[in-house]
Symmetry: D3
Subunit: 340 residues, 6 copies
């Protein structure tokens, strides 16, 4: 043991004030993050919000709004994602700093949990999708970027209608399923088809869309993906070619324009994300998903969502933990986007 | 089937507007409860608060404050009640109307969830108890009644210090344990002794205190209860004599003065409340507890608490459901108290 | 120990063939129940059916059809009862003999599990209710009595439309909620209102309807029950007056005509039935429910249902066990009904 | 508040040494129970033993041996009770004092956890029953009373063979099932028939046997109970007549001689004891079971068992808690038995 | 966004009939798979069968029979796999199409769930193994290939006796354990030794046998594997050399002849398959297992099994999901086998 | 199938005595491990101890002591690790042989479970840390190596004070967090800072310390790690460079001197180890952890710990399984260490 070093350390840390930090960069960040009153609270204390963000009633003075969308009328099997926002809010201690991207979003943007989309009712899928679209349009009008927590995947369609109204957006999409199916059981608006609708509405550019982690039994329903020009990366391809290849592919596909990130937790393997409505064995690991997301740094991420967290099937809350972590990764990307 | 009646019903309800109510009393209550904007929301939507009460930052313009006390440093066995407030807030659909007492508290008082006691830290039981006392004293100063959710039972001591500072209060106490033990493992301030301390501090009147549902293995530690003049009703006595007898006894004991209601969920049988730190087989049923609580109608209830909800042991959330229900029953009693 | 008795017992049982039974009544029943090939199988073996009944494709040669109705689009809070039929089928070892009623239904009637109502789709509540009505009408036409497993409580409305089409029926209804609410969130057809609709349609006779176990927060929405002439027995009344009184009341209310039995598992306390969408603390015990049901012996029970089993919230399967047991009790009543 | 009383209390308790106790009886018991070194340990510390009893390798210097019997080869449905001893040992804080019986067994007898029956193997039910008999016979020879934790109910047969070898014993039996069935699937030695075998072997006196809580679907298999002269108290009879009646009946039936107490946790309702292999809705409450057990005070209890705890179905450990509590109640009865 | 493409897509999909598919191959498959009446049902509707296959009573007109073997008398630790078939049947939405192998088995073969092996009883392991052998021999006689779901791994021995009776078969075996141990606790027929017995009986060719994923504590018991000429691939070798190497090795070992695939879910890591009797940390991922299985395409797979699914330890049903998926992968291999 | 081989196998194994082993090395090990009386017991039988080691009261005649440290007063979020030792002891069938390292520790050293650290009380973190230090110092004085099971990570500080008192030790540390934070909420002694304290006390050599698997949100608090000269390997680096690189790095860092191994189960991904107080998505797999640990073979491992197992969040016991396995891997390393 280096005696000198020990003495130096004792001198520096031995009598330091509580929480004193010496690294200049860390010092600055700590000051920015924690000196605000009320921030240093117990993780299990106070009202639970997304990523522990402050609570806010409207979109004023905001850069990024974290929005709950507790609606699962579009599921085709196990319901429950209506409790997804509640489950993700209950997760403690995600963020505020991302060591891989070296970024603390809340020091760069004004971020708040603005609560949940106000729904007119609980029985009509069509009506709910209208409510979502209206709400996200008001965010767009206010110049606020949005990061949503579902809810089932059908919510991405009205969100894209709001975010892509001006010009179609590209998309990086993590999922076990392409979700580009057609009408099903008499409804176009289920969780298996939002991206077909978004393309046909002209708000999502299929040629700037990449779908990652695809597998499972519904392949026969997804011809629209390839036919429309989307890039479909099956899970086998991720395993064989690695995350670096996926990142390069994704950046190539989405290019320079505005990009939406949609993260369905069933893209992950059920071991990591059992709490979801249509689990499929053999999926992504959180490490792979994080690596790919971080590889998108610098793209113009204009919004995102994390969907299909169904806490009824999540005995150990691993799904909500993974979902909250992915939400934070997307938030970091949004904070790092070139234009705000 | 009475044809006339059917025609009358069809005429009355057949073309009624949505949610129209005809009973005059119900009409009035519905109007009072639900016409406020934002109230008619999904039970799984929005930020979770105690009993779905509005969220508030301070004690101004309030009659009753619902307060979380996420602190379990006083437990002697299984920890976890620090997550009690979060668990109780997550329960949907308790209230707003009590059909047995025929009362809707939020139409009678100004009630809000004011969040959690702000703690200086997470390691010191003594310090935490000081923080609790300080916070509840500020409520008292503001003229606001308090209804707390623990946390372990050690929190009742500082609360009583705040609420009984002016004059000692009586107490109706539901529990498996008397919680009048002495110093234990070097600490006076554990969850097994708050009421001994409160008596010795002169803030709790033992002769106006009744303890209901007592059982379990620690009887040998509770001589203080009987020695000080408390009335101890073991669970066997509840079973033999019935709830009517318990109610009469309780009213006789606490008399006319100010009364505090402390509800430890381990007073219930573990089938109803498994999620707690020191479960004891053979306890109260929620029906018995509700009957006794409702029998206290008209007493001068100046505050209350529901403690020891530990969601880690509550796979089906029955404990949190029962705890939230008891919280609502106490709130009704507080709303019905003669003086506000 | 009586030496003679021991010798007699040894003579009788010591060399008896496996499973030999000496009591004449038991002998007869055992022969009727178990001599059929295939009956003596492992409880965990073979395809799971309701109460281990044989599986059948249609209503021919049947007296009573056990029918799954996996539909929960009518819930107002926690979804999941669409998996109720699957959960109830998975319960082992309920029946075939009821020791209290001294009856083995399968020796008296031809009973089969006919599978689930075939639904056109999974998104439309209105459409689903039509599908249910159509299916139960075909059972009625075939002269088959029905015993359904939901699904949420909205399914009782179309079932009653089928069963009461000829003449209105009476009802014994176990529930925490009256389920006679009006339009809600734009829909008449939710799980909080089936019995208002059934009365207005003239298929349910309110004056021959009794609702047992009522409690909870929605009392203000149920004026229709009392206004229409239904008898509402709150849980407090069950506790105070006892099951004998409830039985007498129920028999008095429903009288001689055809009776439907609807059992919502949330009528039970959440300790016994946590796996349900709208649990309410302080409910019936299974013992009380069984006692009341058995007290209906001899009434003309023309159909029944067990609804709101949501296995996602039923960690120990107690809800499914209780639900299956109540289903068996109703089946016994149906077998004992005067006219088949 | 009585000022004088407060002063007296402050004088007495204010400066008392830690844990000082003033009540003479309590003082004596506390001294007897806790002054032994090592006793005052954390409930979650150290090796888990039954009721926190000391661990011992043999029967020397013992009055009562607590014995695990981890064997479930006799089950007819859900296995898992082989882990029953481990689950019951893991329960904290049962005893050492029984406030209702006013007794602390460990101050009256020498009690130890002697570990588990050593089995030759894990595949043969017949062999396992021999191993159990041999082991309990060695306890009898050592003059030690036994209190066993199963394992499934088939273990009671070899235990009774050991304990009743000298003279037949009477029995108080808590269960949903009579367990007096005959050969089943080619085996006499399953968990549905131990008491038929014990009677035929002359080690159990049927006329001094009472079975309490009986219900469920296998009634047709239990003619042996009534035919042999056992007293069968169905659960409905407990509900109607009350525990006082059951106690009187039980004392009348078993009379003065030696009595064995066998407690199958499925005698309790599944809400209280879901973790068991053959649950039956509508059972005893722990309060009823405790009341009946305590009513046996003074009988000559020469041994007992708690069986069928299967922790795989016991998400909140309520079954293990109830089982451990019943074990303690039986231990108290054994300590209070007239002859040791 | 390519305007032309959008117009083309709108023209093609905008007014398409529900579920219309344009890709010729997909069109054909969809027609083959879903046009049959009754196929398009809710995943949570109807009687649960393996992989949603039709139910059948016998082996007539069948190519592949899916068979449940609910027997776990051979376990050496945690029981429960007797409920494995029920758990796997309850999994929704596996298949009907395998995107990696581009195959839909049910379009190529006649497949049915024929229910469970009829057992004479529930207590005798030896007898149960005879029942299994007899049943599978009848399948062989009927010219039907079998795919079994256990039950514990001891079932593979009688299955191999049936399938290898004519000539010994090769085997690809996924497991944490070699299962080639000798007599244990007096029984040869436990779940730790089926493959030693099969070799000694001449029905399994050790030199054409590969065991993949081996690890855990019982290595010392498995000398038979290497001594007999089996190829043992420890999990460390899978990690180091990759799945491509394993596939090549497996194909080299089993060669051209008939091959049996035995999949013990404890071959997977406990994160993916906690619900099993003898879990071992550090196992295969489902992705690896799927990759290896798919690499066996074209081999002459004459039968297979998925064993050791014990739902009691599977809170989130991930084990049953993984087991059902592996079952589907094996089914695809069987459909693709050169000779049927 | 090779006929000769089959005959040889039949000759060798066909009539072998039960459990006979022919491989000379395996024969020797089996003899050493299992011939001791009492060793061949059921995994679910007997008192549960760490890795099934014999129980012992003191340090005499011991080489390695397995020690429980049931203390979690240092946690900053979810408590529960106080039940970690109980959970790890309950895991069956880990060891006794490590196939990868080809070692059976109990044949090389005298190993025992010596129970838990005797704590003076349950409320004071400072006092508990003193108790731990005192106890481990007595082990050091007795010349016994220690392998501890926590408890939260704060326990490593007093252990290191005991083990490093003579000379500072190096460390291989698996964790999501560096645990080198400073004073927090007024306490230096929390689970986020043990290694800063150990360095400043001169008992841990930072330059011989490597931290593996680091990630999560608290990076800003860990400047001490890098500033003091520790080698920090973030999880991303493990993923990119592989375990071989990590092993080489670790061996380079710790060099020749004494090394402590500290394994925080939150170093693993929450899918593998959900049962812990501060889970972080995206962690190590058990396979990676095992590979790295085994790569440390031959180092002078003088002690170790496995910490932060909190069974309250571990529905399927995967965390306890992984923790027990890592404990065994460390034990093997200790047995293989050059000097004992």
């Amino acid at each position: 043991m280096d005696r000198k070093n020990l003495e130096r350390l004792r001198a520096r840390y031995g009598n330091a004030k509580a929480d004193e930090v010496f690294d200049p960069e860390f010092k600055k960040l700590n000051a920015a993050l924690f000196d605000k009153p009320g921030q240093r609270r117990l993780p299990y204390g106070g009202i639970s919000t997304f990523l522990d963000a402050p609570l806010k009633d409207d979109f004023s003075d905001l850069d990024i709004a974290l929005i709950g969308v507790p609606m699962d009328l579009g599921v085709t099997n196990r319901p429950g994602a209506r409790f997804g926002p509640r489950a993700v809010r209950a997760i403690e201690r995600i963020g505020p700093y991302n060591h891989a991207l070296k970024v603390a979003p809340s020091t760069m943007c004004r971020i708040a949990d603005v609560g949940d989309v106000p729904f007119r009712g609980r029985f009509s899928l069509d009506e709910a999708l209208e409510d979502i679209e209206r709400y996200f349009k008001s965010a767009v009008r206010a110049g606020v970027k949005t990061l949503a927590v579902g809810g089932d995947h059908s919510i991405s369609y009205p969100i894209l209608k709001a975010l892509g109204a001006e010009r179609p957006v590209g998309m990086v999409h993590f999922d076990a399923h392409c979700d580009t199916g057609g009408e099903f059981d008499g409804s176009k608006f289920h969780h298996g088809g939002p991206f077909r609708l978004a393309v046909l509405d002209g708000v999502l550019d299929p040629e700037r869309t990449i779908q990652i982690g695809i597998r499972g039994s519904a392949e026969l329903l997804w011809e629209f993906s390839t036919d429309s020009g989307m890039t479909v990366v099956h899970i086998e391809e991720v395993a064989e070619r690695g995350t670096e290849w996926v990142i390069a592919k994704a950046r190539e596909v989405v290019g320079e324009g505005p990009v939406y990130v949609s993260f369905d937790v069933d893209g992950l393997d059920p071991a990591f994300a059992p709490g979801t409505g249509t689990p499929e064995a053999g999926g992504l690991t959180p490490r792979e998903a994080q690596a790919i997301l971080r590889g998108l740094k610098g793209l113009d991420i204009i919004g995102g969502d994390v969907v299909e967290v169904a806490p009824q099937y999540d005995a150990n809350t691993t799904t909500a933990i993974a979902g909250a972590q992915m939400m934070f990764e997307i938030l970091c990307l949004m904070a790092l986007s070139p234009r705000k």
